[in-house]
Symmetry: D3
Subunit: 253 residues, 6 copies
């Protein structure tokens, strides 16, 4: 099964990602029917673990949404398990050095590009039989998060690690690391926006993709316009909260 | 633990109910923090069963939201289990006759008012020790649904069953039963609105409460204004969908 | 979403059904990739309940297999829940009288054909929006089991109940009821085979479909040849056991 | 697998039953190692459902404890499922009439004694292959609860229903039904103790077994001495509470 | 939400901790009603994982018990997840060196004190909106376990790591490491008691808290008297076992 | 509880291992009744996590099958948890150096042989009381996987690590590492078979055991004949697939 998200990016499309913090296949299949190009199961800050990630992947599968996951940390055990479960891309938090980027890539790639172990229990059965091993190294997206001052300092080295397909920006952690508070999501501070522009430029120069975590659709649009390849338009949680609040406003007239 | 919802109604307050179709304590605790007076775990049409209802009750408990459930059907086994699990009120679908209303009430009340069996595994531990048995018959809300032509024909008899605290209107099933299609939620048809007014009047005459399933906050307001005691302002599912759609609109500018 | 199984039957195709007793989406998606036309989640004798049935439906959905379920008993609560969850047909055990068949059909059909309540939480979202209500009465398969002497005695009356789409034969219970032991699955007793032929004939005369529970592929073939519309080729459990035993034979050389 | 509990009773042994309200195999295996002759999964008032009952049965199996369950209500669907899951006896609440006792027995017995359907998914695999069907009608214990005034009025008729192996006394519901409050467990009221003695006598006359729900070991001893065949020595919940309270007493010196 | 446990300690109160090995919200809410100041979900030796920890936190929340967890190992992925899930303190096993203590603290603290990533999915929603980030570094308790000879050798260095709030003693591992067998919990060996006294003294000198794992209430009292800030009075498992054994003693008269 | 598998190996028996990728106690108990000497819960490539491993161990326990697990990676947290849960042996993937083998052994052994922490929550309760600590270091099998060129290069050093009981060969990863494709299981390539023979010889010289992952019974037989101590005869998944395919062949005649 080709990675539709990667194909879209190759075709120059700006995409919209959704974020799953609620650990059920049911909420995942709901989100998958609402028009997201990809959905990311958040095992770091979401109420998610490996089993719920499997369920979420199952929920989104019939709807053609590209399954992604954010791992809890740069640890090889869970990276391998999520890829075997069918993730077509992984976002890894707190990749601050070249060595951390290399370790992340190595855990995601079969030899000779890395040291991933073979056994794609769900990933393989959905591909053409026997093909998964040959296509996975190319299909699976490796996306380290850039969200600290240290990562900015090491940015060129991280971006130049072979196998890094792109980067993902975490606005609140980045702000915290830079001492720019409060830790909000859709940023307006000029110094942060300048960093975003720099990141887009660095990725463009290398033909790498770049995404960012946002809350509102309007901000995703703004990031698309700034040059980001994809933006996350909130999670199931934030959209549920916004949905209820809008109705409460209607209730109060 | 007194039934705060019942107290609010006694005080003349119009309340807003939420509806839980997603089977997790986490989504329940999210909903419980958004301002609903009560939350109803929907075991009939939601992706819910007894165990997920327990989890949802646990999720909403610290937030003071009154826990309700809609049972899948007028069957005594699940009625008893949900009350023991801590539901402070039950909504029962498709109560069309006096006999069905009597059976529903009997399953909800301890003797001599009914035949509920004693063993409030979660309900009891939250009350003052040893008090639950004495207060439950008064605190637990028994709310049959009025959603068919047959129920309208038997309305007086149903409303006059001792122990029926109020009724709940199911707009789509009522429309289907009356042959008024399509089966939508927030109705505009004059003949349906006339029925609503009649139902409010019949309940008012008897000092009984009346609620209705709605989708939007604006329609809940309209029903409050018509005289309904409470309105359901959509479910976790409908609010999530509305929330995402609003952001998608923002994305498209 | 049209009922592909029903379409196949209308086109004269003999189909092969699989049976799910293991309560996971993962085993369901495995089975769904092996070539079954339909898969039945067995809530009667399988280790299954409502939540696991939802998971099994989710697991098979991307593979185009028609989702069916066998209910634990002729009880309206679980019938409605399974249809709302997306079952495109239900098999009901121990339907022995016309009245029981009528009750089963009523629970499966929206008015005016029955008294099913509207709220297709998963069934609806997969159909074209707003269409499910109009197509469900035609698409959902109602299949009572014929598995007792009493059912044979009442066969004509059961088959003539409007809304009964076909019947399903339970070989072991039928044998037990007739006093023909031991209670095995793929029967050879002439008196039982004569009953099968009679059942096929009665269904053919009415344009109704007929299925039967089998263990081996060879017996399914034999039943197809006898005129059965579909045969169940064992469950995940029986096929796992046969699979291991075949390898154990290979091990022993 | 023979029913060890029934064998013990036949041998004149007084037994001690435990009660499972916590829905995990882990708590079940803990309880199973503490010396109970049987453990009853309480699907009526415990936080239990079918799936957790399966888990509890699995947890106790290696320890040789006889697996029992109390069903939520006299409903055939769950009765069949629990027996198929391996329960070697069922306790049914609120059996108040001969007809209710007959329905309960019918759901527990294969033809010609009843109408249980064949498919012992876990029960069968633990017996000698192919033997379960022939031994189940004799091995499975059918134990209606006597816990209302109506049941006392119909006691002879209930006890004389063929297939009723014994009865189980529910002290709090019995007291409630008789108007003897508060609804406590280990009773001291003379009129209740006289009823217990009458029940023991009626069972003895018919060679039927009789059990009772207790909290403390001392009260189980007292009931054994009164002639009860078995007593339930509290649940996982009550014993956990008593255990913690004893240590708190030690803490306070 | 302020950390009530820390406030109690600051006020000089000796507290009693409970320990959760059974993975259900239900057993957690039972324990939370029995008077423990804090409850620790044991992800190391208990039958617990991330999802069950979330459930246990939900179960104890309405009762005001401070939620703690013991992590399986000094691994940043699970540390972050448990804090995001609402743990107000973490106990980390086998912290034997200054470097291990520093790594543990870093994973628990937001910059500039550590490298915890921002995203308190449950922790944040219970605090005042937007406040959690500012208070967490002060509120979250970081408690390394001292349970090896190596840790004793490095004790001063570990205690002097900024951000270490206190230590927790594991009696069986400590004994094993020192070669003092058998590995029992509530120790009587003078050489071990002398170590306890030394640990209390070292913590007192630095104004740090110190806890210890015990089984009985009497031993917790003894440790309080020795100067320990808090003692764990057994787990749900040990208290259940002690509870049943006490009743069995009563049964035998 | 002695390790029956180790006893069998000491007695010179060649054993057959099964592999569990389906995360249920039910499928585990099915497999356990089919004649495997041991069953390995695969937390690396199977759809398994800690909680499902506990369930699988519970499912196989009454049948006397030796419980093993493959860990997701050489990470101490999960190693300790699985041993505490009752695994009598662990298989660790991708052990490529002496240092990795030493780390794996250290996590599996109590002091002074390693640094495992004491708290055998399920492992201990099944042994004789208080005995587990004294026997575990001898009973628990530590089996690193040899599946890369680097591991072959370091073979002597790995085999000579004290506490390594044997090795397990992963055929597909080994082939990938050596550049011998496609990545199939039951290998025929002479160069791979020569490596197998070398591995058997090296293990024999040291009195260590050696196992290998196979799919068919015939290949397990071949490996037994080559000198392997044990062979894995496919997983629940592969055997289910082979079972269904055999019946499909029968269906087509």
């Amino acid at each position: 099964m080709a990675n539709k998200l990667k194909d879209a990016w190759k075709g120059g499309k700006k995409t919209v990602n959704g974020w799953l913090a609620i650990p059920t296949a049911f909420s995942s299949e709901l989100m998958a029917q609402l028009g997201f190009d990809s959905l990311t199961v958040d095992l770091q800050h979401g109420v998610q673990d490996y089993m719920s990630a499997v369920a979420c992947f199952q929920g989104m599968q019939p709807h053609g949404t590209t399954p992604l996951a954010r791992v809890p940390w740069n640890e090889p055990g869970i990276i391998g398990k999520l890829l075997d479960a069918g993730a077509q891309g992984l976002i890894c938090p707190m990749v601050n050095t070249k060595e951390q980027a290399e370790a992340f890539v190595a855990a995601c790639r079969y030899p000779p590009l890395g040291n991933r172990s073979n056994g794609p229990v769900r990933a393989g059965i959905y591909g053409e039989p026997g093909r998964y091993f040959y296509t996975a190294n190319d299909d699976v997206l490796c996306i380290p998060m850039i969200e600290t001052k240290e990562a900015l300092d090491n940015l060129d080295a991280i971006l130049d690690v072979p196998g890094v397909d792109g980067i993902y920006v975490g606005p609140t952690d980045l702000g915290i690391s830079l001492g720019i508070l409060p830790p909000v999501m859709d940023r307006e501070e000029p110094e942060i926006l300048r960093i975003y522009e720099m990141l887009v430029k660095k990725c463009d120069e290398r033909g790498k993709w770049i995404g960012i975590h946002c809350t509102t659709g309007a901000y995703v649009k703004r990031m698309h316009d700034m040059g980001f390849t994809f933006g996350t338009m909130g999670s199931d949680v934030t959209n549920l909260v916004l949905g209820v609040r809008a109705q409460l406003a209607g209730l109060k007239g």
